[in-house]
């Protein structure tokens, strides 16, 4: 295929002029044909301004709930690995505890719920930018690995969401270049896989109580 042919093919695909058969073929080829993929991305960005020609229109308020319902067919996302199953670990802990009692072992600390967690927060380039250290009965420390620049009239907001929670909880606005410490008691829940994230919000924080701005860094807690 010549460069011109590829350019036209990719542009016609983006425009929507490719026949259904061609379109299906292009979509199969996109995975393995880097040049074609590059050409498609080129056109979808170059032609993008035309998406602003039709007058904006509001979809019905019922649309988002319907979309959200379709995201996961059966409630909570499936947990892929047995090692991630909290129920299993509870069982293991109970069995270990019973065994320890039966054997007259008095030192039970190693089988208790984890006391410390660590989360590495990464940006979308998978670069680590922040560390969150959590002591279950102490403090949450949010430590920057490098300063995160915050534009004027904006603020960094720190959020947490346990896997069992339905919505993230704000842990407040934080400076982009210093350690922030928060009492662990402020966390609504602390479990393995608890999500921590930093979003860019208006200067006075999210007006809705939920993240509204871009997620700058995100990561999940692991017990240590």
């Amino acid at each position: 295929m010549t460069d011109d042919d590829r350019t036209v093919l990719a542009a016609e695909y983006v425009l929507g002029l490719a026949s259904p058969a061609d379109r299906a073929q292009i979509e199969r080829d996109l995975d393995r044909d880097f040049e074609l993929r590059r050409a498609v991305y080129y056109w979808q960005d170059r032609l993008f301004p035309m998406t602003r020609l039709p007058d904006p229109a509001d979809p019905s308020p019922a649309l988002w709930p319907r979309i959200e319902k379709s995201l996961q067919p059966a409630g909570e996302p499936a947990r892929p690995g047995w090692w991630e199953s909290l129920a299993l670990w509870r069982t293991v802990t109970v069995v270990a505890l019973a065994l320890a009692l039966a054997l007259g072992v008095r030192f039970l600390a190693p089988t208790a719920a984890p006391e410390r967690y660590l989360a590495v927060l990464q940006n979308d380039q998978k670069t680590a930018g922040w560390i969150v250290e959590i002591e279950a009965r102490g403090r949450v420390r949010l430590v920057p690995l490098a300063a995160t620049p915050v534009p004027p009239q904006r603020a960094l907001q720190f959020w947490t969401k346990a896997p069992s929670a339905t919505a993230p909880t704000s842990l407040g606005l934080v400076p982009g270049d210093r350690v922030t410490e928060i009492p662990a008691a402020r966390l609504p829940a602390l479990e393995p896989d608890t999500l921590f994230e930093l979003t860019l919000e208006p200067e006075t924080g999210s007006p809705t109580g939920r993240p509204t701005g871009p997620i700058l860094f995100v990561g999940r807690a692991v017990a240590i």
Partner: protein, 186 residues
């Protein structure tokens, strides 16, 4: 629309949001939806011409964006461009059988240039002025083909009928228009 709202939209990091979708963060998908829904609805409505069908398109497209977020290649282009391709293709699939009669608005090119300020987007600036200028340099038929195909979802056959020109001629106009656009946009 106020400056503040424009600013908020411009500051939004679509690439980060799509990456978060790939990690299973519904709030990121919601954030994309909240920021783009009126424009995406506009695009889907213009192609489908029916509200309920346009909403069906948006529904299916967002489920697809959610499932395929991991396939987005941030090294090659913008997340917003990728999202609109998903939505436009959904809309086109939904209407490909029905006939539509639409005329290209003469003021569309002017609107395109004027709209430039509305979507300056950080390092991934999309230059509407350049596209408007390059479209403006094409002859009328070629420009009409490109714009009717993109904005209204016309097929080759519909373009041929609309312009009262043979199908082969329309196809060759489009090929030449696209190569000219690439050269002009370079």
């Amino acid at each position: 629309m106020s400056d503040t709202r424009d600013k908020t939209r411009d500051d939004f990091d679509y690439e980060a949001a799509l990456a978060a979708c790939a990690r299973g963060d519904r709030y990121a998908l919601r954030a994309i939806y909240e920021r783009e829904r009126r424009w995406l609805m506009a695009v889907a409505l213009r192609i489908t011409r029916r509200r309920e069908l346009a909403e069906e398109v948006l529904h299916d497209a967002f489920v697809q964006i959610w499932r395929k977020a991991a396939t987005f290649d941030a090294a090659l282009g913008s997340a917003r461009g990728w999202i609109y391709t998903v939505v436009r293709h959904r809309a086109l699939s939904a209407v490909r059988s029905s006939a539509r009669v639409v005329a290209v608005d003469e003021e569309a090119l002017v609107a395109l240039a004027d709209a430039q300020a509305a979507w300056r987007a950080g390092e991934r600036e999309i230059d509407a002025g350049a596209l408007a200028e390059c479209l403006g340099r094409l002859d009328d038929q070629k420009r009409t083909c490109v714009m009717l195909a993109f904005v209204d979802g016309y097929t080759h056959e519909e373009l041929a009928k609309h312009l009262d020109a043979p199908l082969g001629t329309v196809k060759s106009w489009i090929r030449r228009a696209l190569l000219a656009l690439r050269e002009c946009l370079a």
